[in-house]
Symmetry: C2
Subunit: 418 residues, 2 copies
């Protein structure tokens, strides 16, 4: 008879799940479009619920639409180890992000159940609502971690009306989403396996990344204000060109970050110009600006220098600028104990690994400060993600699933019920 | 009895016309919105036709919708001096641009008619269709000057379908617009009075500008192409950010023109970014770019350096760029003879004047190379135009009308029928 050490996931069973899931919302480009709360997402949830039930897991859904399968340990006082990810994806996305997180977690629960292993905690496989932030970034895990603001429930601002409609259509009552919060004392930890969405593992040909930090991210809406005027007849020294100021800011902000923040990210993803006619000096330029850094203080420093740069550029161009902080996702630090368990699992399986920072956001960012949290990355071919070209070698998926399995077992073996 | 030298326009009569016309399409902001071929434009044309008829002028409209009142000189072989402008305006525009051109021309015809002055040419007051280019820049004068392309008549490209519908609704048959062309040998010249839309007369406190040149203008659509990617996870050296390249180009193009072309104008009036999400590297940035200069060769030189700059900036940022020349309005030189007649008229009336370049486009740009053409500018308060704040002192309007009147008389007195 096999010992725990010899346990492995079933690659064929995992593959069948992968293919079944890839068909839900498949696109002509060979990818998947499964926007949160869309018909495709609801079909994927149904598929998941059926799988959970077929495997004898207890199906549970909370008031934020998070959908779980629980393998109870039999002790009503035991805590719960959450293994999560999201079935929803981006428009025109790929087949991996992050269906693989869900199917690997499901497979681990099956292997542990079939092997009859008695865990010291309940094992809960959880699909978080809107992991991609099609409506609200990390909505499901945010609700579970009790970090939701009141916006969604009230009838104002009207911006959220379509979101509320989508929730209600999915059977989720906007007035009740806050009930999804969990008591952190009932949690034993949070684990997630995810494709890297970057190039480092692929470059290094290393199959496992052990996430140490998740990048913090702040998004601003900045609007430069000048004055409209006839492009031909306005005196040069009277021009107050909002787009010219915005263009200088974008150029200099990229340089500022390049020269001073080797691990920082600056992105200006959009710009909207008013009035937008060829022969009118732009009076408004509205920019969507994003800063990322995994170090909290460095991110704050980067942000303040970028805000200052925008102010200075506005003044130099005789403009004004408004700056609105839209989203802030704080940098998240993974639990060193959990990282250690992942490391031990890799060593046990003779798999090479790399400590890695995640530059993309994850549900783990909502979880890390309420329960010990860990993330396992598997390679993304050429670093491509959010694209039909997203690809991970199947061997790497299986390898990741086995690391997840043995990390769960490591956590269990070193578990102190307290 | 008055001599010709003592003739003056009737300020009260002119004022009544101005007020009547200001009510057609008046806006809450105190301006006028009278887009070409709109209900308001059609009402203004009706007002104009009624005025012409009431004053005993022969009403004539051509196949491009240009609407004229003709004061015949009685000689069927005589040529025609055109005095023109446009009744249509920009959205949310003012009361002056360029209703004053039409009412001053009408007033001159009335004064000449009432005084019983025998001119050596027919005098034709003409309202050109779409002088503001709401549908097609300088459509009416373009048709009259036989410079229309075939686009408007054919069913393709479909872009022009709404324009054709608007023409047909106004009783203008798209298939016949080219019939509006005139034989240049039948024309004695073209004159127009227009608000300056700039600040030079107002700054100098001089009531009359004698236009020497009208700026040439070229509009490009330039699209920078990069590659979309996750803003957080894409390697810095792999970023191909179309917006960053576009921003560098805008910044440098403004500097290039400032440093090398003291009389040149560069404007980037709009930019459209794809895909436009905060966390995606922009793959496309589409710019609307405009260059102006009154000297043909200098404009060509400016254009080629700006196109080169865009190419170089694209290469430096590992992007590509497409460049499409959308509109080219050649620089236009006013007739020195007509300018001389305007100068003499000013001297006769003891009015100061200034030679001036027009940085805005005018119907005169279509006319200057088919018949001797002149333009008279009157001041725009603070240089403001295309705005409800557009304002010209009434005294300046009357002064301009008198200069127009005496310019017509000067042309008549020096006319060689050939």
């Amino acid at each position: 008879m096999n010992t725990q050490d010899d346990l492995r996931v079933n690659s064929d069973r995992l593959w069948r799940d992968f293919i079944e899931l890839s068909l839900i919302g498949e696109t002509r480009a060979g990818g998947v479009a499964r926007l949160a709360l869309s018909n495709e997402d609801l079909r994927a949830r149904l598929w998941f619920a059926n799988k959970l039930e077929a495997n004898g897991l207890h199906v549970y859904d909370d008031d934020a639409g998070n959908l779980s399968g629980v393998l109870s340990c039999g002790n009503p006082k035991a805590k719960t180890l959450l293994i999560g990810s999201h079935l929803d994806g981006v428009p025109d996305g790929g087949r991996y992000d992050n269906s693989v997180g869900i199917i690997c977690a499901l497979e681990c629960a099956r292997v542990i159940q079939v092997a009859g292993i008695k865990l010291p905690f309940h094992l809960e496989i959880i699909n978080f609502t809107d992991g991609e932030g099609c409506w609200q970034s990390l909505f499901g895990s945010r609700a579970l971690a009790n970090k939701l603001t009141d916006n969604y429930m009230s009838d104002t601002p009207t911006d959220y009306a379509p979101f509320r409609a989508a929730l209600m259509r999915a059977g989720i009552s906007p007035a009740k989403v806050k009930n999804a919060k969990r008591n952190p004392h009932h949690l034993a930890g949070y684990l997630e396996i995810h494709i890297e969405q970057g190039h480092r593992l692929d470059d290094a040909q290393i199959p496992i990344g052990i996430v140490t930090d998740i990048v913090g991210r702040t998004t601003y809406q900045m609007t430069f204000y000048g004055e409209a005027g006839h492009s031909g007849t306005t005196r040069r020294e009277n021009r107050r060109d909002a787009l010219r100021g915005a263009a200088e800011f974008i150029t200099q902000a990229h340089r500022l970050v390049e020269e001073n923040y080797p691990d920082g990210v600056f992105n200006c993803g959009n710009i909207l110009v008013s009035p937008g006619a060829f022969n009118i000096i732009p009076s408004e330029a509205q920019l969507t600006v994003e800063c990322r850094h995994y170090h909290k203080r460095t991110l704050a420093d980067m942000e303040s220098r970028i805000l200052k740069l925008a102010q200075d550029t506005a003044i130099a161009n005789r403009l004004t600028v408004s700056q609105k902080r839209e989203i802030h996702m704080p940098a998240a630090h993974m639990s060193p104990e959990i990282a250690n368990h992942i490391r031990t699992a890799c060593q046990h399986l003779h798999i090479t690994y790399l400590d890695i920072v995640s530059y993309a956001g994850h549900d783990a960012q909502m979880m890390f400060d309420i329960t010990p949290t860990g993330m396992i990355f598997i390679p993304s071919k050429d670093g491509i993600s959010h694209s039909p070209k997203e690809f991970t070698d199947w061997d790497d998926v299986v390898c990741g699933a086995n690391v997840l399995l043995h990390t769960i077992l490591q956590i269990a073996n070193h578990y102190d019920a307290k």
